[in-house]
């Protein structure tokens, strides 16, 4: 064991002496690995960011909530045109689910549009206006920072009240308490009942805080026809009952929409699960393609290492001859050159990570992420593997050199 350690130490010493002796060459060769590791780790970091953004957003959907819509979140097996021409999901279906469902804990119809919102002299353009039932908090999992959400009576009665997102609140009421104030949404007056907690953005795209929530019946009077397409959120009593709830809701909807037994469903019941599956498929493909393409640069770096190791072996033929003459077995020579190329690549990997880390912090500013520790370790491991793999052929050739020929080499 001690013997192996000494040989390893000797190999390490030789490797670093050789790298030091050819500084320029080592730097240029390592550059290939550095670029490879930088691109692979950054790709890993970006994918991590994508996953994080998705998981954060998807959590907001709630695992125990069903979303009744015309459109399915999963694969569209049906013709786009057929789905487009489905009848809209209407408020009647929400009422029916509420009336007949045993499994549903809360049912909440939702629709939305964009309008400008004004308070006094202050204007916020293109705010997402959500028309909703009274059970938004229950079904969406959002929370109110202060004030109260509107009651079922206010919702059904179509009272001109609203709840505002934190961003809207910050823009319209920088120095005031918004509760009880009157704002104008698309020209109509509403009284602010509450302000939501900060929620971030959905998939890093749309801010969830730049929103105003109004009773759906009011929404129908002022912004959109009550015949327009809705989304119905149905919260199950528990996650375990989600499948039962789904079946029950499906039956209620078929009846509500007057479908005959042999008709296909003309609606979709979506859930978080569907989106996760879809994302995993897409995300997996993105990750695979991204890592493959960036991996190519690492591969090219590996070829550079192999090339330079061949040069190194040829240059040091005589040294190999000397070492063999005084009793170095093949294994030792093989190990020596493998360690040299592994050391080159490992240095490249470490430099690569040192370069990639600050860049990942820059990425973090627009796509919240962090270079995962696993990516760091994998990158280092991969660079060692690249070194060993690309160093193997040259090292093998060195170990097989005939000592007589090697000693004679000029």
């Amino acid at each position: 064991m001690k013997f192996v350690f000494d040989e390893f130490k000797e190999g390490m010493a030789i490797a670093f002496a050789a790298i030091r002796a050819n500084k320029m060459r080592s730097v240029l060769t390592t550059l290939g690995i550095v670029i490879g590791i930088v691109s692979v780790t950054l790709m890993g970091t970006a994918i991590e960011g994508l996953n994080r953004a998705f998981n954060k957003s998807i959590a907001a959907l709630g695992s125990d909530v069903l979303y009744v819509q015309k459109w399915s979140w999963g694969n569209h097996n049906d013709d786009w045109w057929i789905i487009k021409n489905r009848r809209n999901v209407r408020i009647k279906q929400a009422k029916d689910i509420e009336k007949y469902s045993e499994y549903a804990q809360a049912v909440n119809p939702v629709t939305g549009t964009r309008r400008n919102v004004i308070y006094g002299q202050k204007l916020v353009e293109n705010v997402t206006i959500i028309g909703t039932g009274a059970y938004w908090l229950e079904t969406s999992g959002s929370t109110v920072a202060f004030g109260r959400f509107f009651t079922p009576m206010e919702a059904d009665g179509g009272r001109p009240v609203c709840a505002i997102g934190s961003e809207v609140a910050a823009n319209l009421f920088p120095n005031e308490n918004p509760i009880g104030k009157n704002i104008k949404i698309g020209g109509y007056a509403y009284q602010v009942l509450s302000v939501f907690d900060k929620q971030g953005s959905f998939l890093g795209l749309e801010s969830l805080d730049n929103r105003v929530y109004v009773p759906i019946n009011r929404f129908f009077q002022e912004f959109m026809s009550h015949r327009s397409d809705l989304q119905i959120m149905v919260k199950a009593k528990s996650v375990e009952e989600l499948d039962n709830t789904k079946e029950e809701v499906r039956g209620i909807l078929r009846r509500s929409r007057g479908l005959k037994p042999k008709d296909q469903d003309d609606f979709a019941i979506n859930q978080q699960e569907t989106l996760i599956q879809t994302f995993n498929t897409i995300g997996g493909v993105i990750a695979a393609v991204g890592l493959f393409i960036t991996g190519m640069s690492l591969f090219v770096g590996g070829i550079g290492i192999m090339n330079i190791m061949f040069v190194s072996v040829t240059e040091r033929t005589r040294e190999i001859g000397i070492r063999k003459a005084i009793g170095a077995p093949r294994r030792t020579i093989l190990l020596q050159f493998l360690m040299e190329s592994a050391a080159l690549c490992l240095i490249g990997g470490i430099i690569g990570i040192i370069i990639a880390f600050p860049i990942s912090l820059i990425i973090d500013t627009f796509l919240p992420t962090a270079m995962p520790l696993s990516v760091v370790f994998i990158a280092l491991l991969v660079s060692i593997i690249v070194g060993v793999v690309s160093g193997f052929l040259p090292a093998y050739r060195a170990s097989r050199l005939d000592p007589v020929d090697a000693l004679r080499y000029e």
């Binding site: 013997f3 002496a17 000397i322 070492r323 003459a325 005084i326 009793g327 093949r330 000592p403």
Partner: protein, 241 residues
């Protein structure tokens, strides 16, 4: 007493294109412990091939080579490497030191491959370096040493494993006469201390240091005789550094 080296009908062929070249053609030699043998011959006589075979750097095409009663003629590369490490000390014409390593490391190297622990290794290496009178140069690199000093480093490296034979290939070939004489005096002393020395040379003058002369021609043994008028250098061997 059995021989240290027992070569029986050694042949070595090289295939050069269509032609078979007989580098060695049925050579038989016995060398006893503590002999001092000079192998001579013009270039192309096969003396380098013979040296490579004796040094276990190469294996014969046919014939039997026994070193310390062990047959080495059909050993594989790794076994030969072990034999070279333990039994043979090489001294080359071109010194063949590792340019980037200091004297100590160069001398230590065979012990590293021999699996000797660090403490023991340093001790043996220092002793060998002292033996050739280079203790004050122990941390110098080869390019900071003169030719004679380099050759002494390579002798120290050859001695450090206490091998059965010292195999010197034109050890004075790259040195001036005075330095060459100093090196030969060192060999003479090492012989007196009980080492077995095989000297490959084409210089009659150098060969005269040995006790026995083997002359090759065209791959065959031409002469194998004791040397009568040995050259004895009278200067004291201690002033070598």
């Amino acid at each position: 007493m059995s021989s240290i080296i027992q070569l029986t009908s050694i042949t070595k062929f090289y295939q050069v294109g269509e032609e078979k070249v007989h580098a060695l053609d049925g050579v038989s030699i016995q060398i006893q412990k503590n002999e001092y043998v000079a192998i001579m011959g013009p270039s192309g006589s096969g003396k380098s091939t013979l040296m490579n075979i004796i040094g276990c750097l190469d294996t014969p095409t046919s014939g039997l080579y026994e070193l310390n009663d062990t047959s080495v003629s059909d050993m594989n590369d790794n076994q030969l490497a072990k034999i070279r490490n333990k039994e043979i000390g090489f001294v080359f014409q071109t010194f063949n030191l590792l340019a980037r390593s200091d004297v100590l490391h160069n001398v230590e190297l065979p012990l590293i491959y021999g699996g000797i622990g660090s403490m023991e290794r340093k001790k043996l290496a220092r002793a060998a370096i002292e033996r050739v009178g280079l203790t004050d140069r122990i941390h110098h690199k080869p390019n900071e040493l003169s030719g004679g000093q380099r050759q002494r480093v390579s002798i120290a490296r050859a001695l450090v494993t206490q091998p059965s034979i010292l195999l010197a290939d034109e050890p004075t070939g790259n040195l001036d006469t005075k330095t060459g004489d100093e090196i030969m005096m060192l060999f003479d002393t090492l012989h007196k201390e009980g080492n077995t020395i095989i000297l490959v040379t084409h210089e009659e003058d150098i060969a005269l240091h040995a006790h026995r002369r083997i002359r090759l021609r065209d791959g065959k043994m031409e002469v194998d005789e004791p040397i009568k008028n040995r050259k004895i250098l009278t200067r004291p061997t201690t002033v070598m550094a």
